[in-house]
Each structure stands twice: as C-alpha cells, then as structure tokens.
C-alpha cells in the first residue's frame, strides 16, 4: 500500500472512496491491475481512468448530496405512488365494467366476414399493407413489379420500424424541447399524423370518401401537418430561446 501519498486527496482506484469501507483483504483496482496482463490490464486501467473522472465530477460544484436533499421514499413517495397506482388500476376496472368485450361468431373458414380488421393498434400496420399502388413497376423488367404487392407492404412495416430505430443516431446534441429543434419535432408530428392517416386508409372501405382521394390524403396530410409544426415552432423559437438565455445568463453572468 502506498500510504506515503497525500492522504487528504480522495483515492480513485476503488480502494478508498467507497461509501461502504472495503475490508483489508479487498484488493484495490491498482493492486488488481498490477497482477494482470493484456486485455484484463487494459480494462483495469480504463476503470481507474473512469473512477478518476467520476471523482473529478463529484468535486465539481454542480453535484448535490442527494441523501440530504432527497424526498423521503416513505411515506411521501410511497403514498403518492400508491395513490397513482390505485387510481390507474381503478380506471382499468371502471372501463372493463362499463365497456365489456363481445365475442364474434365461431371461426368459419367458409364464410368471409364483410369487414376484416385487426385491433385498433394494428391499423397503421394494416394500412401499410395496402400500399400496392406505390410499388414501382420497372420498365426494365417490361412493366413487371420487382416484388409482389404484399411483400412490399410487409417491407414497408420494416422500413417504418427501422426509421424509428435510427433516430437517436441521426439526432445528436443537447437540444431537448420541440422549440429547440423544430425539424425533429415536425418529423415527429409527421409520424403521428401518418400513423393516423394510415389507420384511416386501412378502414377505407368503411370511410365515406373516394378511395383514391383517401390514398392521396394519407401522404399529403402528414406533410401539411409537419410544415405547420415547423413554421409554428420556428416562429416560437426566438422568443423561447430569448427567455431561456435570459434566465441562464442571470444565473451565470458572462465573464
């Protein structure tokens, strides 16, 4: 052990700073590192670095002692959570008591029902299966379609899920609120409206509107919504950022 080093400075190798004191035999990360080679050693070296970074962050002024400032779990948080939980479960029970489900006629492969629809939360996906008119037919193949309409519809589902998945890898930075990033907010509104219009498209047989018009509107309305959102947020942005910056600079006046 290196006791001769400055003892007032907290150690950051897993030996000294733990809140629960390690017993004498627990090796510190430096000691463990000394016994290792290769990848394991690199890992411990990284742990040491991370620990040091953590230590520096803790010593910075914007860290708080949560144990002192925290809101007590019992009874405050617990009772609030119990109240919310019972209210929510009660709402489910109320719904089930007032709007009970029904059951169709038994399954019959000989009789196709006039309307076949999934549950409401799959309407958007069902709408995507009806995108046949968008499936490009290639002149190169003599007007043949590269894939069947139904394959195209299933592929559209995967494309939507993939597009949602890559959002965090495209949109970086610390902006959070919609006013701070009008473009991404309008992308979000586009998605929300598209899911609704696709749901309408999936029930187009029941919808009192020309089916071609419905199809066109399915893709037009989301763009309109997105443009409006963009315009509104863009014009709101200046005022919002002004307020936010004024607050910020009052707290931290520029040097």
């Amino acid at each position: 052990m290196t006791e001769d080093t400055d003892t007032t400075e907290a150690r950051a190798d897993g030996g000294g700073t733990g809140i629960v004191p390690p017993d004498d035999e627990t090796p510190t990360w430096s000691e463990r590192k000394a016994r290792k080679q290769g990848l394991a050693r690199t890992t411990y070296e990284y742990f040491e670095r991370a620990r040091r970074e953590d230590q520096q962050l803790r010593q910075e002024s914007d860290y708080v002692e949560r144990d002192v400032l925290g809101f007590p779990a019992w009874p405050h948080e617990t009772i609030r959570n119990l109240a919310l939980t019972s209210f929510f479960v009660g709402a489910i029970v109320f719904l089930s008591a007032t709007l009970p489900p029904h059951i169709d006629a038994p399954a019959n492969s000989g009789v196709t029902p006039p309307t076949i629809l999934p549950d409401w939360y799959l309407y958007w996906s069902f709408g995507l299966l009806k995108l046949g008119p968008l499936n490009p037919d290639l002149a190169l193949l003599g007007g043949q379609k590269l894939m069947a309409d139904r394959t195209f519809g299933v592929l559209a589902n995967l494309v939507v899920v993939g597009a949602i998945a890559i959002v965090p890898f495209l949109n970086k930075g610390s902006a959070r609120r919609p006013v701070e990033q009008p473009f991404w907010a309008s992308v979000g509104v586009f998605g929300v409206i598209l899911s609704i219009t696709l749901a309408v498209l999936s029930v187009k047989n029941l919808f009192p509107m020309d089916s071609h018009l419905t199809f066109d509107l399915t893709f037009l309305v989301p763009f309109v919504g997105a443009f409006i959102t963009y315009a509104v947020l863009k014009s709101m942005r200046e005022g919002y950022m002004f307020e936010l910056n004024r607050r910020y600079y009052r707290l931290r006046p520029p040097k």
Binding site: V20, E65, S96, P101, I103, P106, P118, G191, R247
Partner: protein, 267 residues
C-alpha cells in the same frame, strides 16, 4: 455460565445475551439459518454498496441547476406513462393467469361449429363467477397497455429523451413495443372466433409474403398455410409462455437502464 467456549461466532449465545423480542429472535433465526447455508450477507453488502453508490451523489439535473422546476411542471404527468404501461402489464398478467385456469386452446372440429377454445371463452363469460369481468379486465388492461406504450414513445420522442447516452434504451423500447403488439395479436387470436380466424389468415399471408423463407416462416409461426388448430396452439404458447418471459425480462432491463442513467428531465 457453561464451560463451552464462547467466541465471536457463537451467535446463539449472542442472541441470549441481547434478550431480543420474539419477533426479532424469529427473524434472526431465519436470517442465520439462511446465511449459514447461502452466505447472503455478502450479497446484501453488495446491494447496499450499489444502493449507496447510486444514490449518494448525482449531478444536478438541468432543472435543478437552472431552477426550472416551476417552469416545466406540465411535462411531469407525461413522465408517468412508462409506469402506467408497466402497471397495465401487471394487471394483464394477473388477470391472464386467472383466465388460464379456464381456457383451453383446442380448435379441432368442423368449421363453423364452436370449437373447444371458443366454448371455453363462452364458459368463462357465462358460467364462471366474475368470468366476464375477468375477461373484460384482461382485454382492457391490454388495450390500455398498448395505448400507454404508444404515448410513452411519443413523450420520449418529443422531449428528446432518446438522445445520447440513452440510444440503447430507445432500441430496447422499439423491441418492447413490437413485442407488445405481438402480444396483442396472439391474444386476440385465442378466442378462435371469426375475427381471430381471419386475422390469423392475414398473419399467414404476411408470413408467406416474405421472399425465399416465406413458407418456412409460415410453417414455423402459424403451423401451416391457413389458420388451423396448430396455429391456435402456437399462438397460445407464444402468448402464455414465450412472450411473458421475453417481455418481462426486457421490461426489467429497460427499467434498470432508466434507473442507472437517471430520468431524462424536461428542459
């Protein structure tokens, strides 16, 4: 005083000496019995260590740092949607387990005649005490869960909570929302009524439309190229065995990551 040697590890002597209440004695006896065999004290220490390391010190959140708590209060109710979907999942799990006592996934028989699955549902709805209510609760908690999950995703999107350190949880969330929809789909196939049969038909068509492996996928998931008794059996096993394990595990991981990374506060 006995002649037996009393050392630091003579816990029984220590208990006699301390004169615990009956409750304390019972608790300590159980704890010692378990600890002697499993050394749970070590694990308790690890948990305690973890707890303090997570909770003792955290950076000030953006709202704390700039005193914004009173400015963005209207975001806070939306932060309950994740808990609400978990709660609805628990309600659905409990009511589903109870329904499982009465439901049997048999679909053999001439088409048009009520099958065993259909008849067990009508039995639940007409004969079982509170059976109709039970089915209603199961169905509504599923609907509410799906709605809460969708709204939760929107909240996360519009408050930018998916951003940098939280990409992994966003991806897990997408898997979870897809599995929730699959849960719903497999669930509404189980009554084996007309809706179930024709929804199954659409599912089979979707599986068949996958290039190259379509027929194999239809066989694997639906057990045939049209909805048949094997389809119902498979949907049942997916609904009550595979999905519950996978979804519960993923929810635990999802929440654990939220716990480790902290809640993304509005700002």
């Amino acid at each position: 005083m006995s002649l037996e040697r009393k050392d630091d590890h003579d816990h029984e002597a220590w208990m006699e000496e301390r004169e615990f209440t009956r409750l304390e004695t019972a608790y300590l006896t159980v704890l010692m019995w378990l600890d002697k065999r499993l050394r749970i004290v070590d694990y308790l220490e690890i948990l305690e260590n973890l707890y303090y390391k997570v909770n003792m010190q955290m950076p000030k959140s953006h709202t704390e740092q700039y005193g914004l708590d009173n400015k963005f209060w209207y975001w806070y109710p939306l932060y309950a949607l994740g808990s609400f979907s978990t709660l609805a999942y628990i309600v659905a799990a409990i009511s589903g387990a109870l329904l499982g006592f009465y439901y049997s996934p048999g679909a053999t028989g001439a088409s048009g005649n009520p099958t065993m699955a259909y008849e067990s549902i009508t039995f639940i709805m007409t004969e079982v005490n509170f059976g109709f209510m039970l089915r209603s609760i199961h169905r509504w908690s599923a609907q509410v869960m799906v709605a809460a999950v969708f709204l939760h995703m929107l909240r996360v999107y519009f408050t930018g909570a998916y951003k940098e350190p939280r990409e992994l949880n966003w991806l897990i969330g997408i898997v979870l929302i897809s599995l929730t929809l699959l849960f719903g789909y497999t669930g509404y196939l189980l009554p084996w009524d007309q809706l179930a049969f024709w929804a199954g038909q659409i599912g089979v068509e979707m599986a068949l439309s996958i290039p190259l492996i379509g027929e194999w996928a239809a066989q694997l998931i639906f057990g045939g190229f049209t909805p048949n008794p094997a389809t119902l059996q498979r949907m049942y096993i997916l609904h009550v065995f595979f999905l519950p394990f996978i979804v519960t595990t993923l929810i635990a991981v999802h929440i654990a990551i939220v716990w480790m990374q902290g809640i993304a506060e509005p700002h």
